[in-house]
Symmetry: C2
Subunit: 287 residues, 2 copies
């Protein structure tokens, strides 16, 4: 049970967790905090949170669980503001898509020492809609949440954050920080970058927007993630920069190789690449 | 009405057209032809075609409509074989994803002169499953078919091929050959290449196939087209090479620019790219 849960950033991710925990009767009180009063009022109206404040220090007063579910670049300032106002036993976690930078920011906010009551987390559940209006109480059911505890993290912290996400329906796993950031750079961040980039390239077509008139189902599903929240994804690019650039460089090299194969009519090389990709995907991805 | 329809390549595309036309009672007879007797037998068993032959010349005997629905690289040999065995009034069309190369192959097969009874066509409807087992009678409903008639094509040819696809439920449009090939290179061929290439890059991950363990919905939909038929897509790459390489080069330049922005922490440039892509997609693609 959580007595008071404070959620920074009551959008799809924070809002859906709030709704799931409310449904389960797992929190006595859920308080929202962000920079937009209009947005927080809407969250109260929708029954997502019980109350709100625009003041981060007030928001964490008496909280036993604090979730940072804001775009990643907003996390350090919040941590710096609340660090000395958090109760001794309050647990801090986040929902960002990259973990190394959140851990660094937390260490900085807590005078260079990672507190035992902090664990970074990443619910792997998203939709193209990112507002509180899109929040649903079953978003996390059958989805994974990855926690990346460090040597400093207490077992109690991991256990309480795990419990919270499990109550919301998620399967919770732990991963080393670097592995999380590398893997997510490859399977999540890179595809988003490619989808955004492709739509951007097409938008400059000599045929204008008519280029999209004959787009079929393949393009729709490929580019769906290019409708994701630009600010959220801008921040992820900046916060997981190193792993993303590594993945992007590898991809560019492979793509150039494939491009060369097409240029040289190397039928065998093209077929081999496509075959290998198809069998890899068929073996690893359901649907 | 079609008296005898001959379909070369009775897979998803040819098979689904056959099923739709049968349902509408639009053909007296549908004959299949391919290199695999086992496959053709299965098509007869499934009620997709009435009969089959492995001999292309025999297949077109008495046919008033001939559809080439084989992987694109198989088209020239079939055309060369059947060219002198086709009835005077028989219409020839195809279902390939690139049109310039089919037109060139047809011209070659007919001694350098494009016959008036030929029109290249492209049903924009596909699925990841490509076999005759995946054929369905409603595949073309609410889908577009693009025809790319040339100066040599007779109106009667366009009209008869249009009628056939419309009976199957499709909306038929015409486009200049180059525009078709450019647009499809950008919105269909390029995304397939990127999806195949990304899965290929990921398959070499230091984390092995575990890299896919945390893949979410975004990756699934982005990479769905990497489960498409490798032979079909190899052929499209080779047959629409020039337009694809142009699109690919533009994409690589834009991606490098975005990559540089990430490397340089150029928050504004990243946000601008993502915003522009999102608004372009939201404005042009439904769902």
């Amino acid at each position: 049970m959580i007595n008071k849960l404070t959620i920074f950033g009551v959008g799809l991710i924070g809002g859906s967790l709030a709704l799931a925990l409310k449904k389960a009767g797992y929190c006595n009180e859920i308080v929202g905090c962000s920079r937009s009063e209009e947005h927080l009022q809407r969250a109260v109206e929708l029954g997502v949170i019980d109350s709100y404040t625009l003041d981060p220090k007030q928001a964490v007063q008496g909280a036993d669980m604090i979730l940072l579910a804001v775009p990643m670049r907003a996390i350090p300032a919040i941590l710096n503001t609340i660090a000395s106002h958090i109760g001794k036993d309050a647990i801090i976690t986040d929902a960002g898509s990259a973990k190394g930078s959140v851990i660094t920011a937390t260490k900085t906010a807590f005078n260079g020492v990672l507190p035992p009551n902090f664990v970074a987390g990443h619910p792997i559940a998203g939709r193209e809609k990112s507002s509180v209006e899109a929040a649903i109480d079953d978003l996390y059911i059958d989805h994974k949440v990855i926690l990346t505890p460090t040597d400093e993290t207490s077992n109690d912290t991991v256990s309480k954050v795990r419990d919270m996400w499990q109550v919301a329906g998620a399967t919770v796993e732990t991963l080393p920080v670097k592995q999380h950031d590398d893997v997510l750079a490859a399977t999540s961040h890179l595809p988003h970058i490619l989808a955004y980039s492709l739509v951007n390239t097409l938008s400059k077509s000599e045929y204008g927007d008519a280029v999209f008139d004959y787009a079929a189902g393949g393009f729709k599903s490929f580019s769906r993630i290019a409708s994701s929240d630009p600010i959220m994804w801008r921040d992820i690019c900046l916060e997981n920069k190193s792993a993303i650039l590594t993945a992007l460089d590898k991809f560019q090299l492979d793509l150039t190789e494939l491009s060369d194969a097409i240029r040289e009519d190397d039928s065998e090389a093209i077929e081999k690449t496509f075959n290998h990709a198809k069998s890899t995907r068929d073996a690893n991805i359901k649907d």
